[in-house]
C-alpha cells in the first residue's frame, strides 16, 4: 500500500557558496533573487509558510530537518499547497512536491516543468551534473521518497533484512513517524543516479519486490492466524471507538491493525474511522494530531 509519494529536487545558484558556507548577506540576496524569479512567472504569490506550520511540516518529513543554523531559511507554498519551496535550507533551492498514492510520473513532469520555468542559473558542471553541498546528491540532484504501509513484514521482523539488501543498491528503507518500532509505516528513498527510464524501472522493481512480498506474507499470516487477526482488528477498532486516553505506542499498534484490516477487507466501516480521526485532531495533542491528520489521508486510500 503506497500512502504518499514525495519528489524533491536540490539546486544551487551559481556562483554562490553552498548554504553551509554562505554568509548572511548573500543568503538574504539569494532569497530575494529566487523569490523574484518565481514571482515574475506568477508561480508564487505571497504564500510564505508561517513559523508554526514549519515545525509541523518537519514532523511530517515534508521539508528538510537538519539545516545549517546560521542561515534563516524561507518556505513557500505554491497554489495547490502540495508543492513547497525551500530556500536556503540544505541547498539554495529545494522544490518538494507530494501527493497521496503512487503518482511518480505525474509529479515528475510537474516538478521538471516548474524547474524549467525559472530563469535561474544553477550550479552545473558537465562532469558532475548539478552540484550540491551533499556529494551523494550531485548529478541529477533528485530524490523520490515513497511512504509505504507494510504491516506483515514489519510484524515478522523482515524489514531489517530487506533494508540491508537494498543498501547495496543505494536505496534507503527506514521507519517514519515512530521509531524504533514503526508499526508497518516505512519510507523508501531513492536518489537518482541514472537516466529517467532506468530510474523508473529501479523504483518499479523495488516496489514490486517489497509489495508482492508483503502481500504474500500478509496472506500467509492471516491464513495461519485468522481468528487472532480478526480479534486484534476488532479490538483495535473497539479501543479507537471508545477509548478516551491512549498512549502513542498503543495508538500506533491499533492504527496498524485497523489499516491492515481495512486493506484486507475485514473493516468496511469507513465513516467511524474518519470521524474518530477528526475528534482526536480537535484535542490539544499537537504531535498526535499531526500524525492523525496524515493518517486520515491514508485511511481514504
Amino acid at each position: 500500500m503506497i500512502l504518499r509519494t514525495k519528489i524533491s529536487i536540490y539546486r544551487n545558484i551559481f556562483p554562490y557558496n553552498f548554504t553551509p558556507k554562505l554568509n548572511s548577506k548573500e543568503g538574504e540576496f539569494l532569497i530575494q533573487k529566487i523569490i523574484y524569479s518565481f514571482f515574475k512567472k506568477n508561480i508564487i504569490k505571497k504564500n510564505e509558510i508561517k513559523k508554526k506550520e514549519i515545525q509541523k511540516l518537519k514532523n511530517l518529513d515534508l521539508i528538510e530537518k537538519n539545516i545549517p543554523f546560521h542561515i534563516k531559511p524561507k518556505y513557500f507554498y505554491l497554489d495547490d499547497k502540495k508543492t513547497i519551496l525551500e530556500i536556503n535550507s540544505k541547498e539554495h533551492l529545494i522544490i518538494n512536491i507530494y501527493d497521496d498514492g503512487g503518482l511518480i510520473e505525474k509529479l515528475n513532469t510537474k516538478i521538471t516543468d516548474l524547474q524549467n520555468k525559472t530563469d535561474l542559473t544553477f550550479s552545473y558542471s558537465k562532469k558532475f551534473g548539478f552540484l550540491t553541498s551533499d556529494i551523494n546528491l550531485c548529478g541529477y540532484a533528485k530524490s523520490v521518497t515513497l511512504y509505504i504501509f507494510i504491516p506483515s513484514l514489519s510484524l515478522l521482523n523482515k524489514t531489517s533484512e530487506i533494508s540491508e539488501n537494498l543498501k547495496n543498491f543505494q536505496i534507503d528503507l527506514s521507519g517514519f513517524f515512530y521509531n524504533p518500532n514503526p508499526y508497518g509505516f516505512f519510507k523508501l528513498r531513492f536518489i537518482q543516479k541514472e537516466n529517467d527510464d532506468d530510474f523508473k524501472k529501479r523504483i518499479e522493481n523495488t516496489l514490486n519486490m517489497i509489495l508482492s512480498l508483503e502481500e504474500k506474507e500478509s496472506k500467509n499470516y492471516i491464513h495461519k492466524n485468522t481468528l487472532i487477526f480478526k480479534d486484534k482488528v476488532s479490538k483495535s477498532l473497539g479501543i479507537f471507538k471508545n477509548a478516551y486516553i491512549i498512549t502513542i505506542d498503543e495508538y500506533f499498534k491499533n492504527i496498524m491493525y485497523i489499516l491492515w484490516g481495512k486493506k484486507e477487507g475485514i473493516i468496511i466501516d469507513n465513516e467511524t474511522i474518519e470521524n474518530k480521526f477528526f475528534n482526536l485532531i480537535n484535542k490539544k495533542d499537537n504531535e498526535r494530531a499531526e500524525i492523525l491528520k496524515y493518517m486520515k489521508l491514508s485511511a481514504k486510500i
Binding site: 556562483p15 557558496n17 558556507k21 535561474l120 544553477f122 551534473g129 553541498s133 556529494i135 537516466n195
Partner: protein, 155 residues
C-alpha cells in the same frame, strides 16, 4: 647472492623499503645503503603502511578549494562541499568516486566563460559577454579570474 643495486658486493642486509610509493623487499650491501642513504625499516610491517598513509594524507592536505577554503580532508570527512568550485579543485579525485552520466542542462559552468569555435577550440569570451551570461555582474567579476585559473590548470 649479489646486491640488487651495485650487483658487485655480497648481500649483507635483507630489508624493506618504500620505492615509488610501494613497499618492496630488497637485498643490499652495506656500501649501497650508506651511499644512497636508503632508510631501512626494522619496525613491524603496519608502520610501513602507516607511513604511506601519513604521506598520502599530507599530500592531500595541501588540496584546498581557493574559493571557500575547504580542505580535501574536511570535504571527505563531512561529505559536504562548500561551493561549486570545490568540485573543480577536487575534480581529479572526485572523478574516481563519482561515476555518473549527468542530465543535460543549458547553463554549464564551463560554457559560461568559453565559446566553441568552428575549428573545435575553446575561446575565452569577451568580458562583457561573460557578464551578460551571469545574472549578477559583481559575482561574475569576483569569480572570473578563478574560473580562468582552474581551466588553465585543467588544460
Amino acid at each position: 647472492m649479489k646486491c640488487e643495486i651495485c650487483r658487485e658486493n655480497e648481500v649483507e642486509i635483507k630489508t624493506r623499503a618504500i620505492i615509488n610509493g610501494k613497499i618492496k623487499e630488497i637485498f643490499l650491501c652495506r656500501n649501497c645503503i650508506k651511499k644512497y642513504k636508503i632508510q631501512t625499516i626494522t619496525k613491524p610491517k603496519y608502520t610501513d603502511y602507516l607511513k604511506l598513509l601519513i604521506e598520502e594524507i599530507s599530500n592531500k592536505k595541501s588540496l584546498i578549494c581557493r574559493n571557500c577554503k575547504i580542505s580535501y580532508i574536511d570535504f571527505v570527512k563531512n561529505g559536504n562541499a562548500g561551493c561549486p568550485f570545490c568540485y573543480m579543485y577536487f575534480s581529479k579525485i572526485l572523478e574516481k568516486i563519482i561515476d555518473i552520466n549527468p542530465p543535460l542542462y543549458h547553463k554549464a559552468i564551463e560554457d559560461l566563460i568559453y565559446k566553441k569555435e568552428k575549428n573545435g577550440k575553446n575561446k575565452i569570451l569577451k568580458k562583457a559577454d561573460i557578464y551578460l551570461r551571469f545574472d549578477d555582474v559583481d559575482m561574475a567579476k569576483k569569480h572570473l579570474k578563478m574560473l580562468k585559473k582552474i581551466k588553465e590548470n585543467d588544460t
